[in-house]
């Protein structure tokens, strides 16, 4: 088994996120994810602090590390200046890097995020791109949003906005030269490889699960990971 603890320690977020946890549980008390999911950041900090490779492997292959919302409320209140949210970010990065993220239901969702937020960044220069948010995926947008979408250029003009215009402004078209620079940054810094790695690990998992896998957003694997929702994630009320 690889030395996962050693790999974690190479991540600056792990180094900065964990100094000495006294297991007081303040992070758990303040954590919004702990209110909703079967989640306890105190146990995460305790586990990684032991350096026990088997236990870290369990975290990397499990659902638990994917429950945090990265709000970083834990940072403010920790009396020892630890940041469980940063420990989580390092664990998630390692889980993806090692391909272990496909072992859990919540981890597999990374492909959905890569194919939405991830692709929008390099395609449009925006991390959230309005046109991509459909009512089917986001029914909570409500009727006002639906109305806006049907009349967007007219509505925006009233607000003094030229939709997708060249030049500065709200919802401008980001120039192609700028997008090419962003794509080059992704290539040079490993962002593109990271995206491709998420794809290839997901393809391998789809094969194991016997699910169709291709580039479409509605291929069987995408459909499965988007819809899967086990009953073990939240507490029984």
């Amino acid at each position: 088994m690889p030395d996962y603890y050693k790999m974690l320690k190479e991540d600056v977020r792990f180094e900065e996120g964990l100094s000495a946890c006294i297991n007081c549980g303040t992070c758990t008390a303040i954590c919004p994810a702990a209110e909703f999911f079967n989640y306890d950041p105190r146990i995460i900090a305790e586990t990684v602090q032991t350096g026990d490779n088997n236990k870290i492997y369990e975290l990397l292959t499990g659902d638990t590390i994917w429950y945090c919302g990265e709000c970083m409320s834990c940072k403010t209140r920790c009396p020892r200046d630890n940041t469980p949210g940063l420990i989580i970010m390092a664990l998630r990065y390692l889980s993806i890097k090692t391909g272990l993220f496909t072992e859990s239901e919540k981890g597999r969702q990374q492909l959905v995020i890569k194919r939405s937020i991830g692709e929008w960044i390099v395609k449009t220069g925006y991390c959230v791109y309005r046109e991509e948010l459909t009512m089917e995926d986001h029914p909570e947008q409500g009727p006002t949003w639906e109305w806006q979408n049907s009349h967007l250029p007219d509505l925006l003009k009233r607000l003094g906005i030229e939709y997708k215009a060249n030049g500065p402004g709200v919802m401008r078209k980001i120039p192609e030269e700028a997008l090419e620079e962003i794509r080059e940054i992704f290539r040079v810094t490993g962002g593109t490889d990271f995206y491709e790695h998420i794809e290839s690990c997901s393809a391998a998992k789809a094969k194991k699960m016997g699910l169709e896998f291709d580039k479409r957003l509605n291929c069987d694997y995408m459909h499965d990971i988007y819809q899967a929702n086990g009953s073990h994630h939240t507490r029984k009320v």
Partner: protein, 356 residues
């Protein structure tokens, strides 16, 4: 609440906010969901306060949502941010004004990391040069746009046509201020008033005549949670967080929720509609919701801009109950028109939440 004690705590966390010549970077979420807000920020800065704010159209997302949904590696994010700094450097600016809170938190995190790990900064400089040929200087001042509104709160209040005073009772309006988590929870000294008693929106509210509501879940996250909202099956997390806040603030009967993060007003606005549909619960008076505003929208409203030019019709929760309390004059018949009075239909009504 012991006001004097809290005032003392706020004062421990002061930050320097540049007074002019800003290089402005936009928020992906604010542009998408409340498109009038950034228009108003620039109008107030340029037309009301006479400040120089420059925007380079080639700036992009900072990748913040990608970073916090764990699909964009740290060094990629850092290099995209370095490119933004390069655009600022090339334009001859030193003061960086940020519209987004996720971005603001990320800038704080990256600059702090570079301070402690100069070898990472060196690698990022090398990467940026290799990918784009660009070089950059670190900004002398990084401020969130709400910091700047806070700095000029008294000038804004002096020019204001309306105050946050209930016209019927003469009492100050009750305002819930909601601060985006990444404003100061990670780096308390980067925010006005720190993380526990942020003063940035309190200051603006008080200058405009309003009164702050202190309620138990005041510092609770709105519930974005990045992947927890974006992936549909996780979205119950987001809704539950917002409901926790609404239930906690409801007994204090707030007239308004004021936010400084682009995501928070979106969630606090839309989830009120959803809770109405799912559970038949509403949080304002007479079946309405509690109006949710951004700081630019509120400042613009008090300065006398037309509510429909500010874009308040893009909110799901009706702003009209608040407009009437303040005494803002508005024409309801013009709410859903396009430019030059063009008819562009009107939204359907929710089944529970009252809207106009």
């Amino acid at each position: 609440m012991i006001i004097e004690g809290k005032k003392r705590l706020w004062q421990e966390y002061q930050k320097e906010i540049a007074d002019d010549n800003y290089f402005f970077v936009r928020s992906c979420i604010r542009q998408s969901f409340f498109p009038g807000a950034e228009v108003m920020f620039l109008n107030i800065m340029r037309d009301q306060l006479g400040k120089d704010v420059y925007e380079n159209p080639g700036h992009t997302t900072c990748t913040g949502i990608g970073y916090h949904t764990d699909v964009v590696p740290l060094e990629t994010t850092m290099t995209v941010v370095a490119r933004q700094f390069a655009l600022m450097t090339e334009a001859g600016y030193k003061n960086y004004a940020v519209s987004c809170i996720t971005s603001f938190g990320l800038y704080s995190e990256i600059l702090e990391t570079w301070k402690h790990y100069p070898e990472i900064e060196a690698r990022v400089r090398e990467n940026l040069k290799k990918a784009t040929g660009r070089e950059f200087r670190i900004p002398e001042n990084v401020a969130h746009a709400s910091d700047i509104m806070y700095k000029y709160r008294f000038e804004i209040a002096e020019k204001a046509k309306y105050k946050l005073i209930n016209q019927d009772t003469g009492e100050p309006l009750k305002v819930v201020e909601h601060i985006g988590c990444h404003y100061a929870k990670m780096f308390p000294h980067k925010g006005v008033g720190g993380a526990e008693y942020p003063y940035v929106l309190v200051g603006l509210t008080e200058a405009l005549g309003g009164e702050i509501v202190d309620y138990p879940e005041r510092r609770h996250c709105c519930g974005f949670g990045f992947r927890q909202y974006i992936v549909k099956m996780n979205r119950g997390y987001s809704l539950s967080c917002a409901k926790t806040k609404f239930e906690s603030m409801k007994p204090y009967k707030p007239d308004l929720i004021l936010t400084n993060c682009p995501g928070c007003p979106y969630f606090l606005d839309r989830w009120q509609y959803v809770i109405g549909e799912m559970e038949g619960i509403t949080y304002g008076a007479n079946g309405y919701g509690i109006p949710v505003f951004t700081y630019e929208e509120l400042a613009a409203l008090c300065l006398g801009y037309d509510p429909w030019e500010i874009g308040l019709q893009t909110h799901q929760v009706s702003c009209e109950p608040l407009l009437r309390k303040i005494g803002v004059s508005f024409d309801l018949n013009r709410k859903y028109l396009g430019i030059n009075g063009k008819e562009i239909g009107r939204p359907a009504k929710p089944s529970i939440l009252m809207v106009e």
